[in-house]
């Protein structure tokens, strides 16, 4: 039987800032026995949707549906964009003749860690992560729209030697919030500081999350404050793809913790 085909939707922040997360995602899915393809892609429409541009959001969404519906599954390394698709697309197309196609598509869309645990049942994860000390931030949309909480932790448990140190308020927003972080910069930074302080208090070297958007914001704030805390997307750890510097770090910079030996 031919391998099932996955359309990998990298998401804008991965595409623009952090291709290594896209490659780590592809590597994990291929290792789990799937064929991975990356069709031409742009945005899921969340930016337009959350800023009140519903019509724009619908048309952006439609191009995504058309591009990805031929695949058996669509998988994203982001709870936020996956939540946008599976949670909000059906509402966006309510009363639209395209709704049945959209609904059929949405049922086959998965966030990466959920897909690995619930569909692929994949446990052969990185073995080059000995004594990597991590804390995990639950990004909001993934947590509350998709119920992503146990899945990333279960997967980290399958990585060789990863030590997970839970922080206080792990389920509280980091302050990113899309255009919120630009419109209400100081409030957003205050929220990021609370998150970063909680992460530092665990003594972990590495702050992990499932959304590059939140992580760019957190890493950018951590660098601005000069904190000794590295930030990565969970896919890189699961795939053992730690050769690239952590988010916002220059090559050869940082304590060296959070990088593969």
């Amino acid at each position: 039987m031919a391998a099932q085909r996955i359309g990998l939707f990298a998401t804008c922040p991965v595409d623009l800032f952090r291709p290594s997360v896209g490659f780590a995602t592809a590597a994990l899915l291929e290792a789990a026995g799937f064929t991975v393809e990356v069709p031409p892609q742009s945005c899921c429409g969340q930016v337009s949707y959350n800023n009140g541009l519903r019509d724009d959001a619908r048309e952006v969404a439609w191009q995504l549906v058309q591009a990805f519906e031929p695949y058996d599954y669509t998988v994203l390394p982001s709870g936020s964009c996956a939540g946008m698709i599976s949670h909000h697309y059906p509402a966006l197309f309510a009363g639209d003749v395209r709704l049945p196609r959209v609904e059929d598509f949405c049922q086959r869309v998965y966030e990466l860690t959920t897909f690995l645990v619930e569909v692929a049942g994949f446990t052969r994860l990185a073995d080059n992560t000995a004594s990597l000390s991590c804390t995990y931030h639950d990004s909001c949309a993934g947590l509350r729209e998709l119920g992503i909480q146990a899945q990333p932790r279960e997967l980290l448990g399958h990585c060789g030697g990863v030590v997970l140190k839970e922080m206080t308020d792990t389920n509280v927003c980091c302050g990113f919030g899309g255009t919120f972080c630009v419109k209400f910069g100081k409030v957003s930074a205050h929220m990021a500081d609370a998150k970063l302080d909680n992460a530092l208090a665990t003594g972990a070297d590495l702050l992990l999350g499932g959304d590059v958007s939140c992580l760019l914001h957190l890493a950018g704030r951590a660098r601005r404050r000069g904190l000794d805390l590295q930030v990565r997307h969970i896919a890189e750890v699961l795939a053992g793809a730690l050769s690239q510097p952590a988010i916002g770090e220059a090559a050869g910079q940082g304590s060296g913790k959070g990088r593969a030996p």
Binding site: R18, G22, V47, L53, C140, V182, F184, V187
Partner: protein, 469 residues
């Protein structure tokens, strides 16, 4: 100055206010932990939430009938119902009743509708002294401030600030007021006299029960009962959307109200007031008035915002909101702050399209997750943002958003542009891994560095690799 900028000006002041930050920090974990404990220790809690939501839906679906029934029953019990379309109407009705009662001083229980109508200012202007009796309301009355929270009005005050307010107002000399118990006793003694001397008592209502014309009042202090039952006249200022059909329905709201607000299974006092006292009753008012405020609420019925009228005013959404926790209630500059206020306050102003509040949310969804009647608060804020986009002239940021959407509809073009942009930013970072200042992205870079792209977009790199492979 734009509404967002005004919000930020207040927010920056709040973030720099160390007293406020201390008070907010105290409140933060307390409310969250207590609600979590209440929810965890009641196996039926999720079921209770569904029941409460169903009550609110059924009440609104039969609203006119419930209200007529309520009114008939109040009249039958010897009370009166007044209808106020605007806050101004409400002020006039209340002051007329006070004057008819010959009132010079009135005790007041906490009423958010009273706050909505700025009732205290109007009473004072009419020569009637309003005495707030809820401890939190009393504190902020002394401070001449509006409430910063719908359940805990003085949440923004520290113990030290409260002590100062009491020292100034009560002429205490050197009497110690170091302990919370001393502060509470101090207020108790002062307010006790007022309960015994007031001519009129004004309270809000947590619910109105249609079947018997009953107003339900929920407190922990007991101030609402003393306000309602000792003076000759009791005025209830509330809004018509508080109505529920039956006593059984009221029970379903009561079960989730205190659990969501303070984590208690029920508050110390839950009282049901049905009309003036009967001849053989020793306490209770001779006159019983219910004033029902509209203030743009009827315009929400049958619209996408109707679910906002399901709100039971528990405050759980603001207790769990990271933005509220950061900046406090006054930053919202509205009677109702926090997530429920970010929806309701603009709607009650009648011109919701020019307001920062629906934008001042990261859409983290925690408010919706804890709302006892499951109001989709982020969804309603998003709808207000849609309204703003439709009804206000476009500004530069919207043209950018629209351009982004345009590009997104053409993935091939998008791919080449992001590929180019990604490389350009990576080059600009010059191996430092991050950018400190980025042209056009000041909103980002004022507070944080921009992590540098790894060089070339994912799509570009993927294509290149597959091309080689």
């Amino acid at each position: 100055m734009s509404a967002v900028r005004q919000f930020n000006t207040r927010a920056h002041k709040a973030l720099a206010d160390s007293q406020l930050q201390r008070a907010l920090a105290k409140a933060r974990s307390g409310f969250v932990d207590k609600r979590a404990h209440a929810a965890a220790s009641e196996p039926d809690f999720e079921h209770m939430r569904d029941q409460a939501r169903e009550v609110r839906q059924r009440a609104l679906a039969n609203l006119a009938m419930c209200l007529e029934q309520f009114e008939q029953q109040v009249l039958a019990a010897g009370g009166q119902v007044h209808w106020a379309e605007t806050p101004d109407d409400l002020r006039r009705i209340v002051i007329d009743i006070c004057r008819d009662s010959g009132a010079r001083a009135v005790t007041k229980g906490k009423s958010m509708v009273g706050e909505e109508a700025h009732l205290n200012v109007a009473l004072e202007a009419a020569g009637i002294t309003p005495w707030e009796t809820d401890l939190g309301e009393y504190i902020i009355q002394l401070a001449k401030e509006p409430p910063s929270h719908i359940v805990a009005p003085a949440l923004h005050k520290t113990r030290g600030q409260i002590e100062h307010l009491f020292r100034d107002a009560h002429r205490l000399g050197e009497r110690a007021l170091d302990e919370v118990s001393q502060l509470v006793d101090e207020a108790r003694a002062v307010i006790r006299e007022r309960f015994l001397n007031a001519d009129v008592g004004i309270t809000g209502a947590n619910m109105l029960i249609a079947e018997t014309g009953t107003a339900v009042l929920v407190t922990n202090e007991g101030n609402g009962d003393l306000t309602a039952r000792l003076p000759r006249t009791h005025i209830i200022t509330t809004s018509f959307d508080r109505v529920v059909p039956t006593w059984d329905d009221a029970s379903k709201i009561i079960r989730v109200l205190a659990r969501s607000a303070t984590g208690q299974p029920i508050t110390s006092y839950t009282s049901f007031f049905s009309g003036p006292r009967a001849g053989n009753e020793q306490d209770g008012p001779d006159q019983f008035h219910v004033v029902l405020l509209d203030n743009h609420r009827s315009a929400l019925l049958g619209t996408e915002f109707e679910t906002m009228l399901h709100c039971i005013r528990c405050g759980a959404c603001m207790n769990h909101c990271p933005v509220y926790q950061a900046v406090g209630g006054h930053t919202y500059n509205a009677v109702y702050p926090g997530p429920m206020g970010a929806v309701l306050s603009p709607l009650l102003r009648g011109a919701p399209q020019d307001d920062a509040l629906p934008n001042a949310s990261s859409f983290c969804g925690r408010c919706e997750a804890v709302c006892p009647v499951r109001i989709p608060l982020p969804g309603l804020m998003r709808k207000l943002r849609e309204r703003e986009q439709q009804q206000t002239p476009a500004i530069a940021s919207r043209w950018l958003l629209r351009l982004h959407a345009r590009l997104s509809r053409h993935p091939a073009l998008y791919r080449s542009l992001t590929g180019w942009g990604s490389r350009a930013l990576a080059l600009a970072a010059g191996g430092r891994g991050r950018l400190r200042r980025i042209p056009l992205l000041g909103g980002w870079s004022r507070e944080r560095d921009l992590p540098a792209p790894q060089g070339g977009s994912f799509q570009q790199q993927w294509q290149a690799r597959k091309g080689r492979g």
